[in-house]
Symmetry: D2
Subunit: 319 residues, 4 copies
């Protein structure tokens, strides 16, 4: 193992730069060279690469986004794309590849691996919807960003005695919505994993109102429905006049939290260690505090489930 | 002057609590009593009041929103509403009223004043669209909030090499949009005060792209058009694929910045000083560093204009 | 179980209010009454209590500090003090007590428990030096606070090409120092758990300097030595001219992070659940994601050890 | 005017990068070239320069510190040093120099100017102790940083009912201490401009205590005395047991606030405009909202005085 490549792919997540730094420095510490591949698989196919040194990753640990940039790459979904990528890796004398991204990105890594090329995945997505690790890189930061925004909305909701609907990211998974809802002390949360009943929500709002509650915050994961649609339903059914806020891409940016900077540093280091041990086709993750590896397929074959206790907390604490 | 009332009205703004604290403590320091009137003119009419003491305003200087809450009050637009408010003030032995809010709130104050009741206005709105003061309470905090959100968007815009449209508050005035655009180093800004030309914007985007710029941020004040509509126009005319973010009510919340906490403290103190001097029907403001008073009507009769230099800065620095 | 008491004791930690809220609301949800005891065991002995309701804990989830205030109580270390506390609890018809604090506070709880009074402990300290839980309430927030301060120091260290020593809290345990050092990408960390060798540090600084590194950050846990003393040693031995910063009590304040707000909510709820199950003399903790209970003594009898991988990360990534 | 140089000198201040960006882009917009001179006058003498382009100043507007780094340069205080600097400027075909820094840095600029070289100063220091501008770059950010730290201290001061002394930067001027004290609602402030009377402070503390105030915050500018010394005096004279926090270099770092990013952008642009108009030996400043120029000597010959109203606000609002 003389020279390794590293790329970031899919949606960006805070901490990706910390992972790039950790991969680069751990590799150099172990006498390897590191090539940064820009714009994910797209840049791989196009040969958009840059050598990384100890100093070129200095000062990036706290920058949001990814210095290698990222992209979706439809070409890489097809076998020709993957073979083209493989050729490029060989052109650059790269012996192994480390991929930072979500489950879509891991699919590409898996395809490369099936052609015999050594690949390690590092889970980076604010959605936290990947098995094989208790937390993905970026999740904690996104929770804090969402929390800070919701706190600001609470100020104005409380001053105006209003009902606020806050749409947070999460197409297929409600981890971010649930965590933010508990952390913000929201009164209700709509999750993709739980069937939504308008009746129950309206009843709860009426009950809260009768008890003297003058404002409420409802968190809705984008995968359930747009906040704007929920507002219409609440108006039509219960006569509620709700304000809506869509947090959107803000949740993807920002400096990584301490938790994410540490997690990314450990997973970045762990990925290089796994390569040194001769592993391939695996992702690194942190489970119960330990850095472990699991087959890449775990990322899309296994389903990480929401904590039932967290869901009942919303009910108990939102009274 | 034995007992004064204070209320917050209209949209809430960070720093309103700091103003309430300053009014209360300055009044008590001057041997007056202070009555807090809840929910603006609505609460005045309904007699929703609470006495304020030195300690009841302790610890509120940094809280977002307003502890007195706020509301719009259509009843107070009509003469009967104003007269009812006046009766209430007399019921509570209140000798003068201090109103914290925007120009709409100052209209109500003006109506009370015309009936002979002593009133002082404190300008509090994130829009900064009031003459009689260089800055309104809340504007600086809102600029910082917008800036911090836009910085997060810049992370992801840069990582994905995308065009982002950010809609900021500002129906009739572009102060917030312009300040945030310069502070964030945005490439373009759409202001209510300046006619928008789609052609010019598309040309600028093409030029930036030709020069190698891979991502751009455009700030649009809500008063010009919704960001979603701008996205459609950019798609139709130039084929641009833009992501949109609507900052919304987040801009209204949060702890006041140092600037706003100081401004609110000074204007709150200044309002009580003005009452002591026997002034009425005026607003306090800070102009060129000095606390001054102007007739309440200035808030809606005079137009504060955007700084032309700031507008050309966007052009120069966004290259 | 009709009426429970809750108190915070020892050094305050961000998230204590979230724990108070969760205890209160979970108890009321389960038809219990809740009495807040002010100023820890001191307030218990003096009968400084206040009933808590659903609304009296509204809006406190994100406030730093503790609304019940806290104090050290030498009287409670002696048997008479504990018996006096017990009498007070009976005077107020309190059936069980929930104590939020560190291991010192748990000693007091244990003494009460030995007299037959039902007690549950919730671990709250920024030091994270308590077994029985993977994380204590406040640790994550303190890490983020330290990180944000160190990032600012990095700006100026880098601009001036200087060596900075940052003293973080931690008398007997280096969890905070280690986490902050990894998160901040510090070049070196001094931990109470690891013997300090001045020679090794100077060698490392020389090596870094020879490689062209123009600035360095060294984190020192207060338990090792004051930063000012380290500065003298570095000056005397290696001629280094270091700037020092002592983060101090700043690390104890601030709104809880998302992680801490969630942890505190879960442990607060878990403490009431434990009481319902008839448990006593235990602390609640989160281990591997699950809310569990352990004997109170675990807090001072078992030693939680630093992660060895984290220590070697500093070495690898600080090159 | 074909090619200009820019350097940052003295203590770094948030917003210096925004100023470098504005100078660079405004100059390029006006068809000039820009040379960045690293490490202030030290780097000038040593020929440590780097060309700046539109893209090399991209993404720096929000970074703390200065990408050109800074240094103190004793050599430049002497005539030979200045002449050596002048030779270097001519070696690099630089036609004019823009210096970002405090009054010490302006002295160097003035010396260059006396030798006939065109120089413009941009005031950048967190101390705000320069006439010729209402605010220096970095002051507002430092106020916000201090405020945020003090708010965290307030949490723990209030929870523990303690007296806290906070030492903020400011050797000869109390602008930062006074602004932070008013913004934080501190009970007392010690300023270099005002003779300190221990008796008065103790009396005030006793009075506050008698009125039931359980915690207090005292802000002390470093120029008055170290917080540690004040603690000793308070202990000896009044028996007060105070906690101390020294904010230190944290106040120098961090992303610029919106206010500072805008101010730096305007002054950076204004400096280039002044060069275009043929001005030299002047500093740019913002006075009453307008960008103006004043002779460089104003920075050290005129004394900017504290606002008397601000000082009495502490007295009135700290009751």
């Amino acid at each position: 193992m003389k020279r390794i490549g590293v790329l970031t792919s899919g949606g960006d997540a805070p901490g990706m730069n910390a992972a790039i730094r950790a991969v680069t420095r751990t590799a150099i510490y172990n006498d390897m060279e590191v090539i940064g591949i820009c714009r994910g698989y797209e840049g791989l196919i196009e040969g958009d690469v840059v050598p990384l040194s100890v100093s070129s990753v200095g000062g990036i640990i706290h920058r949001g986004g990814t210095i290698l940039r990222t992209a979706r790459c439809p070409r890489f979904v097809k076998p020709e794309g993957v073979r083209e990528g493989l050729r490029r890796l060989k052109d650059y004398d790269i012996d192994a590849l480390i991929v930072v991204g979500g489950d879509g990105s891991f699919h590409g890594a898996y395809d490369l691996c099936k052609l015999g090329f050594p690949v390690i995945g590092i889970p980076g997505t604010i959605d936290n919807d990947m098995a094989g690790t208790d937390c993905t890189i970026g999740f904690d930061t996104a929770c804090n960003t969402a929390l800070q925004c919701i706190e600001k909305l609470r100020d104005t909701a409380s001053s105006h005695e209003r009902l606020f609907l806050v749409e947070v990211m999460g197409r297929g998974a409600g981890f971010l919505a649930l965590e933010a809802a508990v952390a913000a002390g929201a009164e209700y949360v709509l999750l993709p994993e739980v069937p939504f009943e308008l009746e129950t929500l309206c009843k709860k709002l009426r009950y809260a109102h009768d008890r003297g509650k003058t404002h409420s915050l409802i968190i809705v994961a984008e995968g359930v429905m747009p906040a704007s649609e929920l507002a219409v339903q609440l108006k039509d059914t219960g006569g509620y006049d709700a304000r809506i806020t869509v947090l959107g891409h803000i949740q993807r940016g920002g400096s990584p939290s301490s938790f994410d900077a540490v997690l990314a540093s450990r997973l970045g280091g762990g990925a290089v260690e796994a390569l040194k041990r001769g592993e391939s086709g695996v992702m690194v993750g942190r489970i119960h505090g330990n850095i472990v590896t699991s087959p890449l397929q775990v990322a899309w074959e296994e389903k990480k489930s929401l904590d039932a206790d967290m869901m009942s907390l919303i009910e108990t604490l939102g009274i």
